[in-house]
Symmetry: C2
Subunit: 220 residues, 2 copies
């Protein structure tokens, strides 16, 4: 489903060149639940962004659903991503001009789901995460953990094949965090492939495999 060969990503800023990903070779099968762990700054978000088609590698190859992604335009990558991936960002990336309901219904609108069906799906999700009463509010009016839960709802609303989660419980107390992990685990049981960056050993325990990153390289 996902296969990389010598995937490399560099950032160059003034005098400093950072090798964020250094010849990564990774293979992920459909239905897996993979946890990516490693020290702060070691390349986890960068890896998730490249795998999630938000960013391009500088060298190496990336096959997504057997399609060679290298050389595709940003528009082509964006289309494949919207059709297949739900993404939970480390800093949420909610749209400030849209309220909570509108943020979460975005993937459903893209899929052409009817308004009444969107309403039912979105409200069910928000209720499930304990933020149904916030549907009409704007992201800036929510607590950190409430914003994180909106980001999670948006990622899973589209019922897509893959969910990419970048530290999905970082702003949540343990009860809410466990609730999120149970829901992700349930999705995985019904076939969703999940790739989750986490600092939490507790969350990583829900995965079937842990990939350890260090200085842009896989170390296990």
């Amino acid at each position: 489903m996902i296969r990389t060969e010598n995937l490399t990503k560099l950032y160059t800023t003034d005098e400093v060149e950072t090798t964020a990903l250094n010849k990564i070779n990774l293979s992920i099968q459909p239905g897996e639940f993979v946890a990516i762990m490693g020290p702060s700054g070691c390349g986890k978000s960068t890896l998730l962004n490249v795998l999630g088609l938000l960013d391009e590698p500088n060298s190496g190859s990336y096959y997504f659903l057997d399609k060679n992604i290298t050389g595709l335009t940003e528009k082509q990558r964006s289309k494949i991503r919207k059709q297949n991936i739900g993404f939970i960002f480390q800093s949420f990336n909610l749209i400030d001009e849209l309220n909570v309901f509108e943020n979460v219904e975005l993937p459903l609108q893209y899929q052409g789901v009817s308004a009444s069906e969107r309403k039912e799906k979105v409200m069910t999700l928000l209720e499930r995460f304990g933020i149904g009463h916030r549907a009409k509010h704007y992201p800036q009016q929510l607590s950190g953990g409430q914003q994180q839960r909106v980001a999670i709802c948006r990622a899973i609303a589209g019922n897509q094949k893959l969910i990419f989660a970048d530290e999905p419980t970082g702003n949540l107390d343990s009860t809410n965090g466990q609730e999120v992990m149970k829901i992700l685990s349930g999705l995985n049981q019904s076939g969703t492939t999940i790739i989750m960056v986490t600092h939490s050993e507790q969350d990583a325990a829900y995965a079937n495999r842990i990939v350890q990153l260090k200085d842009g390289m896989i170390v296990n």
Copy 2:
């Protein structure tokens, strides 16, 4: 040092009125290390913002360093805050137009510290947190945990009486998180009063007291 009486904070949005803080009575002595815990959305950040003079209560009183804060103008509160408090925000609130070095030296500039002394203090701090090599970079070019460490450096650069920390290790792996907690603990040992919101039992263990919040009220 800090004393509140029936501190209350309400938010009103369209039809929904949220009582974020409900008659809070809290007393904190100089030199304490207080952890504030509770479920997502229960009022922790709101409490920290009011205690940290970033926000005003709707009713009740707040005495900061024996001074009644109620009724002061925003300008007056801001002056008292800048002179006494280092604040670590849940979403970092770094200034995008300034590089890492410039972000951290802000409190020292406010205090009128000389340029050479600022340079020494800032670089020592950045090195200590493992991000000295990022001094010339901008916040958007850093990983989530690196941004969090910049926010922490900025809060402690000014050597102030009090540090308010809103989930300071949420984006950090356990090694980096422990390093942060050791540094905060060290500051507390030398007299700094620390008020820290956290979801982590491990971090809370560094505190001398835990305050439990639920639905805007203290429950222990």
